[in-house]
Amino acid sequence: MTLLAGKWNVAKKVVFVIALLYSLLFLWGCCPPFCPPPPPPGPGGDGQKAMLSPPTVSEPLYECSTAVSVAGFVPGATIEIYSNGTATIGGGVSDAPWGQSFAVNPPLTNGQVITATQTLGGVMSPHSKAVTVKSFFESHPEGLPKPVLDIPIYNCGGAIGVTNLAPGGLLEVFADSVVVGKAAGCGAGQWVFALPPFVTGQKVIATETLCAKTGPKSDSVAVIPEPSFLPTPVMGPVYEGGKYCTVSSITNGATVTVFNGPQPIAGHACSGGGQVFRLNPQPAAGDSLNAVQGLCSSISPTSPPVVVKPCSELPAPKLSPVCIGDNMVTVSGTAPDARIRVYANGTLVGDGGGTTINLLQAAQAGDVITVTQSLKNCTSPLSAPFAVGKTTCSIPGYSPGFWNDGGTVQDHNNCYNYSNNKRTDTFAQPGRAAGLSLGWADMRCDRVLDAAKADGILPLPPSGICPCKKDKIALVVWPDEDYHWYRQDSGGKWSHKPGHTEATNVDNSQHAIASPETADRGGYTEFCGYFCSCSDEQQGQGHENIQ
């Protein structure tokens, strides 16, 4: 009996262990210690589900086009282009996320709906925003535009750029009536190699053909002798893991060569301006790269060396403002072939490349957005965070009736109220909401704008465009006496409200205000600058915190 009881105890223990193992298998899908290691954690925590951003299909797309350009994908992803959601008509692998043209077959037809996906590591993105194919000739009854050749065109030039094209057509470049370059499915601006290279005295023209219709010829351009001096090319930074470099200050048609030490690793003829070069073999950290350009026997000075920087120096991207409802983010300061990951509150919401990355969910009020860039196994630090605003802004029209009631609204709301389109009935003062008080000595640009900044009103960014549909407003000062604000209405003109008088869209000379800088402003002689205010279409309902 004792023996049986002992065996039963052992049996119970065995059953218990087996049950434990099965429950672990059920929970984890594996039995420790034989489980695979967990995926490396992202900022949002462990094991985030892999997701890819939908890429971007370039617009417009025209009937008869033989190519579609796609951007915003992770370098190395497989791109597929679809017609009406299901039929694959083109695609391929690319590590040029700034924009890759893919041939499509058959050519596009009017009314087709085109989308694209990217696939990497077994993960496929959602379909891109759909682009409907249109007939170029229905919307442009005047026909194809006249191509414009980039000039000057030099002897020995091996490439040429052409602009003013209808996207998707066949571009042909002729030198003395002989085709020297062509591109099917061209972009609105397109460059082509010239083979053979141009020769002094040749007459060069370009034509475009779409749907078997050939548009007007470009103006004829004569090839001129190459310059005796070529400018030094300028190379952009290169980081460990990067496959590309940028070179600018290229003379039209010159052949650029990129060297790693004495070894050429990239190079070809280029149209003027800047170009991205694929480096082969890929350089390593510490390698010294430089570039030269040449036309015939004219060779430029060698560019200053660019040392390939290690992974630890890969900088965080710069993030442009993100607005409520935005479905994409724009970054700068990134390597051309970097993988860009976008996070909202630490959760991955975008994974692509290039400078514009589509989001898997629209930005919401209060989201904190960060981004990283990666080259191979190297990932930068997170960017400075951008907090998405909490309010949707809109721009008011000029509707003075609300402000000019001859009573409370008119008497108790001044230029600051009006420019911010916010009725407070307090004759609002800059900085008052933040606890500041402007005195006589503060009637100068720097003091008043500091007070406005304390209220949260920010200066116009260098782009000259207020982000997130904020309204542009302007500050002027009557030195040592007073300040005044203007606002730009939805029609593009400016209006203002001088103190407790009526709101108006004319200046002291009764002229419409095209710009506060040039308006008759009486004693308000100092122009302090432009700012951005979160306003509203409804009069008096602006969202800035002024008091």
């Binding site: 600051y416 003062q429 402007l438 005044h484 001088p498 103190g499 709101a503 004319v506």
Partner: protein, 158 residues
């Protein structure tokens, strides 16, 4: 025995005093508004509040009434208000918030025209800009505007 009696009467005394004070306080406020007289605002600023003063003395009030009494009707005035929507000096406004007798609800004057608002709006002629000059001089005398502002306003009239 004495303490509760005293406490009760002290309490009643204080209560009566508080009631009397509240009556006289509100009365004092009403009297203060009337005593302040007519509010005269020099309309010159856009962002900052405009400078203002009160016509307090009876002499000043009578002079003001006299200007209005002797002003002719301005039949040629076509705008809706004499105060234009411009930056800088644009006239003077007088408000009768206290409801002083024989004075309109509000008066505005600028560049030879007077706007009188009572039950209706009437426009009068400010001959030689006399009323406007009178009020500007008072503002200067009472140091509501400094010499620099006074000179600027006079220069803008040219």
């Amino acid at each position: 025995m004495l303490r509760p009696y005293l406490a009760k009467h002290v309490f009643l005394f204080l209560l009566a005093g508080a009631v009397l004070c509240s009556w006289t306080g509100s009365g004092a406020q009403e009297t203060s508004s009337a005593k302040q007289g007519l509010k005269v605002t020099i309309s010159v600023y856009s962002g900052r509040p405009d400078p203002y003063f009160y016509l307090g003395s009876e002499t000043e009030m009578e002079q003001f009434r006299s200007f209005l009494k002797n002003a002719a009707v301005n039949k040629a005035f076509e705008r809706t208000t004499v105060i234009p929507s411009i930056l800088g000096y644009r006239g003077i406004e007088v408000e009768n918030a206290a409801g002083i007798r024989d004075v309109p609800v509000s008066v505005a004057v600028y560049k030879g025209a007077i706007e009188v608002r009572s039950k209706e709006k009437v426009f009068l002629v400010d001959k030689d800009r006399a009323l406007e000059q009178y009020l500007l001089k008072l503002a200067r005398e009472k140091k509501i505007i400094d010499e620099r502002m006074y000179d600027r306003i006079k220069a803008s009239e040219q």
